[in-house]
Amino acid sequence: MCGIVGLFLKDKSLEPKLGDMLTDMLITMTDRGPDSAGIAIYGPGTEGRAKLTVQSDTPDADFAGLDTALAERLGGRVSMTVKDTHAVLEIGKGEIDAARAALSEIRPSVRNMGQGESLEIYKEVGLPKDVAARFDLRGMSGTHGIGHTRMATESAVTTMGAHPFNTGPDQCLVHNGSLSNHNSLRRKLRREGVHIETQNDTEVGAAYITWRMMNGATLGEALESSLVDLDGFFTFVVGTKDGFGVVRDPIACKPAVMAETEQYVAFGSEYRALVDLPGIGQARVWEPEPATVYFWSHNAVPTAHEKAA
């Protein structure tokens, strides 16, 4: 069992409250996943800049002087915001690959959580309320975000086993369920040269989506083909630069509830997660259909049909 929450804002006036609303939703889902928690939030970006969220188990040592050291290697401007075990490094837009390569040399114990122009990912082991407090999730603003509470079934309770998983620039995935063919798929993806770090089933699902998009599929196509290539139970929620998507496996035993009003589109594993949202009493509330890919986007052309960068 795991819990998923997601919130996509249509009403700009709610953006300063995104972190606050998502945190309440996340904490309500503690019963479904008390092992670890994580959140992906799409906040304000800076034109021409990119963000790299990194994590360290020894943040005091690893993050000390990291911005200066990285700036030296990249030869450009680097700004760093540290939150507990995570740090967000703001670098030049085209410098993500160079920065990751440099990081693996100057700070080998620092781990990559996410990358993109607006995406920041925070995840740790612990109760959702404690994880939220460590990163001050309540104070974050943004256009949309997704969160996850984990009850581990397939692999160890570790930071790297927590969700969301980064699947590409400004893209991430959370999962409720269990994949049964993740071992064979992991071997196959590794043969294709895809880096997979843990024994976690969802990381394989995320790597699969990334691999499909690296080979020319759109996010929508990658999710469609996941219905064929992934065996097991899943409700996936994916975050994109301008919205989010939902897909459930054809058996659809993992729960999902959606709510939509003029102000937002919300996702919850259970209705309980949605009860404090404004105007929920008048919202259109429904259960997403099995084996159907849904997207909500700020773009006229949804991200699902755009080619990955």
Partner: protein
């Protein structure tokens, strides 16, 4: 009318209070406010009382019900009226998966849609759905009636025993050993009564009946021990 604030008084207190009502209680009308999607609201009741839940609920609302009438003024999560024995449960909104699962008796009315596995392994309950139902509904259904005024999803009535299924709209596909059957006068009469009990604005003549072809392994006497 007794009003119970679930948020203030808590779930254990609610169910303990409702369980304490006997056959001859004078407190026959109850209202539950602030359900906020909570699980296991009004489960295991065994008294002829009426409970009105003012809002949407989570898992297992009205489970194992005997005698009581439970009205939910909202939608319900998975497993509503699971293993109901008698009485009546009415949902004004939609129901999530496995509504009325394993129910032995009583009537479950869903005024919106029900999702997957509605009436799975039903054993005598009557389920009346005003809208549509999802895939794998009435899987291994043993007895009772399932009425669907809208459409049915994939694999309706897979591995069915003696339950009767009535569908007004389309059926996406029938499960293993489930077939369309002739609507005889006695079925029309059963259905007329069910539609009336469910408050449906539909005529029995508009429905098709589905049931077991009785061709699976268990139906062959040579396979009996």
């Amino acid at each position: 009318m007794q009003t119970f604030d679930l948020e203030a008084q808590g779930l254990r207190q609610l169910n303990a209070t409702l369980h304490a009502q006997a056959d001859d209680t004078n407190q026959t009308a109850w209202e539950v406010v602030n359900p906020r999607g909570s699980h296991a609201i009004a489960v295991g009741l065994d008294a002829p009382i009426e409970v009105n839940v003012k809002g949407s609920t989570g898992y297992y609302c009205g489970g194992m019900n005997k005698q009581a009438t439970i009205n939910v003024h909202g939608s319900v999560g998975p497993g509503v009226a699971e293993n109901m024995m008698s009485g009546m449960v009415v949902i004004e909104g939609d129901a999530s998966q496995y509504a009325g699962a394993t129910g032995h008796g009583g009537t479950l009315v869903i005024k919106g849609n029900a999702s997957s596995r509605c009436g799975i392994s039903m054993k005598g309950i009557d389920i009346i759905v005003h809208g549509n139902i999802g895939h794998m509904s009435a899987f291994m259904a043993q007895s009772g009636n399932l009425v669907v005024c809208g459409d049915a999803g994939e694999a309706l009535g897979d591995s069915l025993y003696e339950a009767k299924l009535f569908v007004r709209g389309s059926v996406k596909s029938l499960g293993a050993d489930c077939i369309e059957k002739e609507m005889r006068p006695e079925h029309t009469e059963i259905l007329r009564d069910l539609l009336e009990r469910g408050g449906c604005d539909a005529k029995p003549e508009e429905f098709k009946r589905y049931g077991s072809a009785r061709q699976l392994y268990n139906f062959n006497i040579d396979n009996a021990y």
